[in-house]
């Protein structure tokens, strides 16, 4: 029982960065913009968060710096993909390649440093609930932030006027424009939100998950998050389930080793990527269903008044 609780708690921790970055991408894609630059934005968030926390001595300053770095990167993407109407695939790839290079460059001096990362804070009362309390409410503060972000995104999309406008723009930007909506402005805001969340997810890695900086420490989580959004068919409730599922896949090797399973760490390290492919297969089995849920203008640049 103790083992199961520990595994479940570790699953939530491993799923948190995925949940954060995927929530941001979900909002971005709902506005019709596909940003493949998650990996680059996360890496910039991770390095900026670590550097700021190390030099200021404050984890909160680190988190703020990570969010700012993520937003800054996303605005570069927005300039290309929204203002200049560049191919979103290429612009997103450029963002990832640029972010990977820039983060390694800026972080070169921080390799080997370590800091005191976020520690667990048990929420009174809630953490006393059997099993669930230990799994969900005896975690570090950023995990709670991810819960709030999830609830915020889900409620925003479903019940708010802003969420309605966002979805309208993602489905049909021309009709939205004809109705007087500022398509480009909304898309900028959506991309920036995605950038901030990716930066926060990066900070989670470098300030809570493993409080240190190494080159490419995201290890493809940005890409897994992109698959996660497809898996969730652009719905937040399925997104949170998926994030913990992928979290479980990425800690499975720890569990197996804990149970005395003798296998190579490298082979087990493949698991999250294999699971991602498997999920894509299961999900894409019926292409019509995916297509039905995809925001109609996803990936299409929009140029008003051209």
């Amino acid at each position: 029982m103790e083992l199961i609780i520990n595994v479940l708690a570790a699953t939530v921790v491993a799923g948190t960065p995925l949940l954060l970055v995927a929530l941001g991408e979900l909002i971005c894609e709902r506005s019709g913009v596909l940003n493949l630059g998650q990996e680059g934005m996360m890496l910039m968030g991770a390095v900026a968060g670590f550097a700021a926390a190390l030099s200021s001595g404050s984890l909160l300053v680190g988190v703020a710096a990570a969010i700012v770095a993520g937003i800054g990167m996303s605005l570069l993407f927005a300039f290309m993909a929204v203002t200049l109407a560049a191919n979103q695939y290429a612009a997103g790839l450029a963002l990832t390649i640029f972010g990977t290079g820039l983060s390694a460059f800026l972080g070169a001096g921080f390799v080997g440093s370590s800091i005191e990362g976020f520690s667990r804070v048990a929420i009174p009362l809630l953490s006393d609930i059997p099993v669930l309390g230990r799994v969900f409410f005896d975690q570090d503060p950023l995990v709670y932030v991810s819960f709030v972000a999830f609830a915020g995104v889900a409620l925003f999309l479903r019940y708010s006027r802003g969420g309605l406008l966002l979805r309208a723009i993602g489905e049909d930007p021309e009709a939205a424009n004809a109705n007087g909506l500022q398509v480009l402005l909304v898309r900028y805001l959506a991309v920036a939100f995605g950038g901030g969340m990716a930066g926060l997810a990066g900070a989670y890695l470098s300030l809570a998950y493993t409080p240190l900086w190494t080159e490419n420490m995201t290890a493809g989580r940005g890409w897994i998050a992109l698959a996660l959004v497809v898996f969730a068919t652009w719905r937040p409730e399925r997104l949170i389930l998926g994030a913990y599922l992928f979290g479980a896949a990425s800690i499975l090797h720890l569990v197996l080793q804990g149970l005395g399973w003798k296998s190579s760490t490298e082979l087990l390290a493949m698991l999250p990527y294999l699971v991602t492919i498997l999920m894509l297969i299961l999900l894409s089995w019926n292409p019509a269903r995916t297509r039905l849920n995809t925001p109609l203008s996803l990936g299409q640049p929009y140029r008003p008044g051209c």
């Binding site: 493949l36 570069l76 300039f79 290309m80 203002t83 200049l84 109407a85 560049a86 191919n87 695939y89 290429a90 612009a91 790839l93 450029a94 963002l95 390649i97 640029f98 972010g99 990977t100 290079g101 820039l102 390694a104 460059f105 972080g107 070169a108 001096g109 021309e174 424009n177 004809a178 007087g180 080159e215 290890a219 493809g220 890409w223 897994i224 992109l226 698959a227 497809v230 190579s264 490298e266 082979l267 390290a269 493949m270 990527y273 294999l274 991602t276 492919i277 894509l280 297969i281 894409s284 089995w285 292409p287 995916t290 140029r303 008003p304 008044g305 051209c306």
Partner: protein, 368 residues
């Protein structure tokens, strides 16, 4: 407010000026970067762009780095022309290196002219097999190839790490994760005696010629182009889009696999974990910078090869972080895409505050 106005005809001047403009902007940014870091910018740029290629040994090193980039880029060009977004050259490359190494180690007792071709062929087939997975997932199970090829890259890397730490590890290698050195009959001959430059560069140049022939002279190249521009048009014309996707993936896998095989049988001579400094990813930049064109990718691969050597040079001479290579590569791609916007658009300042609603409505249908 700035507005983009679609040009009536795509600007062919911008199409070719854009890579040059991107390079100039990258150099300017590099100049500022050196200033900010308190280094001499002129000296820095000289170390990056000129010193590495100022003598024969430097030029041969450039050719050495060009070879894998050019091979990977040739395959990716075929994919991207057909709008198959294969990001998996890195994975194909690693599997090519792994397959070729396994065969070379198997044949370490053998000698003969047939050893090297067999080793290279194994690498090519391994790369094709890895690409075939993504092709099958796309054509039969409708999986997005960007995501599957990225995942396959990570899986390939872990497979490679597994083998150099396990089955292919040199038992007498003092515990280092690396294979035995290959026998001489499994090594690529030098292209210029006395340098490390090997036959791989010739493979790369041949691949570029093959790309030119494919698109300028063959029917399948024409079909790929049509499919890239409009899938439905290709389908109406009866060009099996599924078949073309497979073709693009297999070519991409074959060339990147050959690149991996050439790397282990060329300058390295054994399988090591760090067989690729990201050639497969850099090749994506080569393809865009080279305008998906045979001659273009030759020039672009030379430039990006220079970023690898120039980065090393700055690391040694000016104590800059090695990552400066990735930074310059990222900047270059960034600026290129920005400049590329002006192939199809020009900037116009918006004079009136807001366009009348009726104008927006009447222009809207032309969008589609």
């Amino acid at each position: 407010m700035l507005l983009l106005e679609r040009r009536p005809v795509a600007s062919s001047l911008m199409r070719w000026a854009s890579p040059l403009l991107a390079l100039i902007l990258t150099i300017i940014t590099g100049f500022v970067l050196f200033l900010v870091m308190g280094k001499d910018p002129v000296e820095g740029l000289k170390f990056f762009f000129i010193t590495p290629v100022s003598d024969l040994s430097g030029l041969s090193e450039l050719g050495l780095k060009m070879a894998p980039l050019l091979l990977c880029a040739a395959g990716l060009t075929v994919c991207y022309r057909a709008r198959v977004w294969n990001i998996g050259a890195e994975g194909h490359f690693l599997m090519g290196a792994l397959g070729a190494s396994a065969m070379a180690i198997q044949l370490s007792e053998s000698s003969g002219f047939w050893v090297l071709p067999l080793v290279l062929l194994t690498g090519v087939l391994a790369g094709m097999l890895w690409a075939a997975i993504a092709a099958g997932l796309k054509t039969h199970l409708h999986c997005n190839e960007i995501l599957t090829t990225i995942m396959l890259n990570y899986i390939a890397l872990n497979l490679l790490l597994f083998t150099v730490h396990g089955p292919l590890k040199d038992p007498f290698g003092f515990g280092f994760p690396q294979s035995v050195m290959f026998s001489d009959s499994a090594l690529l001959p030098a292209l210029i005696p006395g340098t490390r430059l090997h036959l791989g560069l010739a493979f790369g140049l041949l691949a570029a010629v093959a790309v030119w022939v494919l698109f300028a002279r063959s029917f399948i190249g024409f079909q790929l182009n049509v499919a890239g521009q409009d899938h439905r048009a290709a389908a109406f014309a009866g060009f099996g889009v599924r078949r073309l996707t497979w073709f693009a993936f297999l070519v991409g896998g074959a060339t990147a696999g050959l690149a991996g095989a050439s790397e282990v049988t060329g300058p390295i001579g054994q399988l090591v974990p760090q067989v690729s400094p990201g050639y497969g990813y850099t090749a994506i930049i080569v393809v865009f910078l080279g305008r998906m064109n045979a001659l273009g990718i030759v020039a672009a691969s030379a430039l990006l090869a220079l970023t690898f050597i120039g980065g090393e040079m700055l690391q040694i001479a000016m104590h800059m972080p090695k990552a400066v290579t990735g930074l310059f590569q990222g900047l270059l791609l960034f600026y290129l895409l920005t400049c590329d916007a002006f192939i199809h658009y020009r900037i116009r300042r918006r004079k009136t505050a807001l366009q009348p609603l009726s104008a927006a409505v009447t222009t809207a249908p032309q969008e589609a």
